[in-house]
Symmetry: C2
Subunit: 204 residues, 2 copies
């Protein structure tokens, strides 16, 4: 595997992208970042981690939304006056992503990392997806949800991720051309995805 | 590798999808079909192979186009009265694709094979893509074209393939969700793609 390679993983909700990311990082013996980025952005901005987790998939496409949130800074801790809260969270996460990437090879799941790092880092960009029903089954089992509730959660989360990615990157979420590799984890299985990714990374 | 597995490969023009398909078929010791499907459809319909090759990437989305070509049958050799020539070519290719798939495992490149076989066959569906400039370089070298001519050919061929796939399948060409695996052959290299695919197929 090349030195200082950042493996980014975008993933449909319920596809097991997080588990795949953790296992790939473990197999390659490199750090793994997912929600940890939220905690680091919280430290950086002074926002509470729960607030960031809630805010990070909003989209600030609305002019009124921007006006409404633009000047609302928590105790003046953040100097990015004029940016909406959602944009402030996004930029704080970008800074954290660039910082951890600059420290060496790692796996970063979600948070538009493929886009954030596109110019200054060598990345291997992956997207994990699976059939809708398969993902619902996984979410039902993991969170003890009814089929209807799981389906609603999957639909809503994917919609948020699609809009968030599109808004900040102007690219299509899950369009093959934006990734070096995409895999159907439902068809291949989690462990096969891990093996395919680690083998591919070692071929670079 | 599972018995009777059909590996379908969609590919951007100039991405090396055909070469990857040939090498995968060779590595797995199974038949490979690409333009051979045109010859088989020619035999079946009585149309000339060159005519089929020309016609197969047209799209019959226009009402006037359908009216204009709908009743034009070559010497009554094709019983599909009322279908446009392009639709007749498509349906002839579908029959050929289903026939070769029913004979056992194989690799089929292009021709919407992933969609044609989706209900009655076990497929592993792959899409190969690469950066535009990389594909232009390959086409320039392969066909001794100027950069402008190569770029024009790549653009035009991809546009035709996108429209053809969309028209006959109602799916997005190159959308990760339609494939079990997509690979950037420019990033990974042809031989790594072959290895990744054959390894993945052997994990199924």
């Amino acid at each position: 595997m090349k030195q200082n390679l950042i493996i980014t993983i975008g993933r449909e909700y319920g596809s097991g992208g997080r588990e795949i990311g953790e296992k790939v990082a473990s197999a390659l013996n490199i750090p793994y970042y997912d929600r940890k980025i939220i905690d680091m952005a919280a430290q950086k901005t002074g926002f509470h981690a729960d607030f960031i987790a809630n805010e990070e998939h909003r989209v600030t496409g609305s002019f009124l939304f921007n006006i409404a949130t633009g000047g609302y800074l928590l105790g003046g801790m953040n100097p990015q006056m004029g940016l909406s809260l959602t944009d402030q969270v996004y930029h704080a996460e970008c800074d954290v992503i660039k910082k951890v990437a600059s420290e060496g090879s790692c796996v970063i799941v979600g948070r538009c990392a493929d886009y954030v790092l596109r110019e200054d880092f060598t990345c291997f960009n992956i997207f994990i997806h699976a059939a809708f029903d398969h993902r619902c089954e996984r979410i039902m089992a993991e969170y003890s949800l009814s089929r209807d509730k799981a389906a609603e959660t999957v639909r809503k989360t994917d919609k948020n991720r699609t809009r968030h990615y599109q808004y900040y990157t102007n690219r299509g979420w899950g369009a093959a051309e934006n990734y070096d590799m995409t895999l159907d984890s439902g068809r291949l299985g989690i462990d096969s995805c891990v093996r395919i990714i680690t083998d591919a990374v070692n071929m670079l």
